[in-house]
């Protein structure tokens, strides 16, 4: 099955049709997405700042990481679900949107950065209680902050570049300043 065919299937799915028909679903899904991404970013920032020794450096890295990362994963799961609900009703437009593609790329890079850190640097925590972690860990922290900021910025850019795929309800009266 080719990529455009998969996108078309998603677009034609029942849930996509339901999202297109419901006037109220989108604002709630979008708000939940903001809440989820805010939690992802905020909790990861706490871990990154700890790695950099810039905040909360008196606590062992392992303790900070064990406290934060379960919340990060739950919030990330919520962001994926709400993101999928936003993607499906407008799948064809999203698929062709550059900001959306770059955001997905940045997400993959953020995931790779995290995987490399956990498999290599984070494996033996001999530096657990050091205020400042080793150079590779600090590089991973800066990369993480940069990538998540990029993801949030691109996410907002999608909304301004994707165009719209719905009709304005007929009873809405718009008034513009003269």
């Amino acid at each position: 099955m080719s990529a455009p065919a998969i996108i078309q299937t998603i677009y034609d799915s029942g849930i996509a049709e339901w999202m297109r028909q419901s006037l109220k679903a989108m604002p709630f899904v979008e708000a939940a997405h903001v809440l989820a991404i805010a939690t992802v970013f905020g909790t990861i920032l706490i871990v990154d700042l700890r790695l950099l020794g810039k905040a909360g450096a008196h606590r062992p890295f392992g303790v900070v990481s064990r406290e934060m990362l379960p919340m990060t994963w739950v919030a990330f799961g919520a962001a994926v679900i709400t993101g999928a609900l936003m993607f499906a009703p407008n799948a064809i437009t999203y698929y062709g949107n550059t900001a959306f593609r770059l955001k997905m790329l940045a997400l993959v890079l953020a995931g790779l950065n995290m995987a490399v850190f956990h498999l290599l640097t984070g494996r033996s925590l001999t530096w657990d209680t050091n205020a400042r972690s080793p150079a590779p860990a600090r590089v991973a922290a800066w990369l993480s902050i940069a990538l998540w900021l990029t993801i949030i910025f691109l996410g907002r850019w999608i909304g301004f570049t994707k165009g719209y795929d719905f009709t304005v309800p007929e009873d809405v009266q718009f008034e513009f300043p003269q």
Binding site: P27, V34, A38, T39, G42, I46, L149, F153, P177
Partner: protein, 168 residues
Amino acid sequence: MFEFARWLGSSPLSIGIQSVSWLTPLLQAIHIVMIGIVFVSVLMIVLRIHGRVRADEPFIRTWERFAPWLWTALSVMAATGLVLIIGEPVREATALSFWLKMILIAVAVASVLGLRRAVAGVAGPVIPPATRHAAKLVLLIWILIIFLGRAIAYDVEVWRSLSLVHHA
């Protein structure tokens, strides 16, 4: 109020903001980054009151760790929010969600400070259930603020006949 919003929307400052195409998305993105810092700072304070994080240190250490981040990020949000309002004053003034959000922000800030006072008055390490319940409520208020913020763009869809669009 609607008259003022219309006047502001046609002012050179507002038109200047509207004419820079990248400014609104940039400010909104900064606004969302700051939501992350504000919300998670409040979350940490609330979870500490429940003993779910940082139970190895006194509450005041958690407060001192997160309060400066909370207030700084909130100030940045006020600044970016103000420019966004000047850029689209009619959209904000005619959104019921916007006014509810402003009221709830005042309540939320006061309630976080109230939590701080309540915990400071506790003798011993155990925080009473009433304060713990209040902490949950404070978190809920901040979540509502995030929802109302997004709902500004959908005022008629969310509020139907209650939307102020019908009165402008």
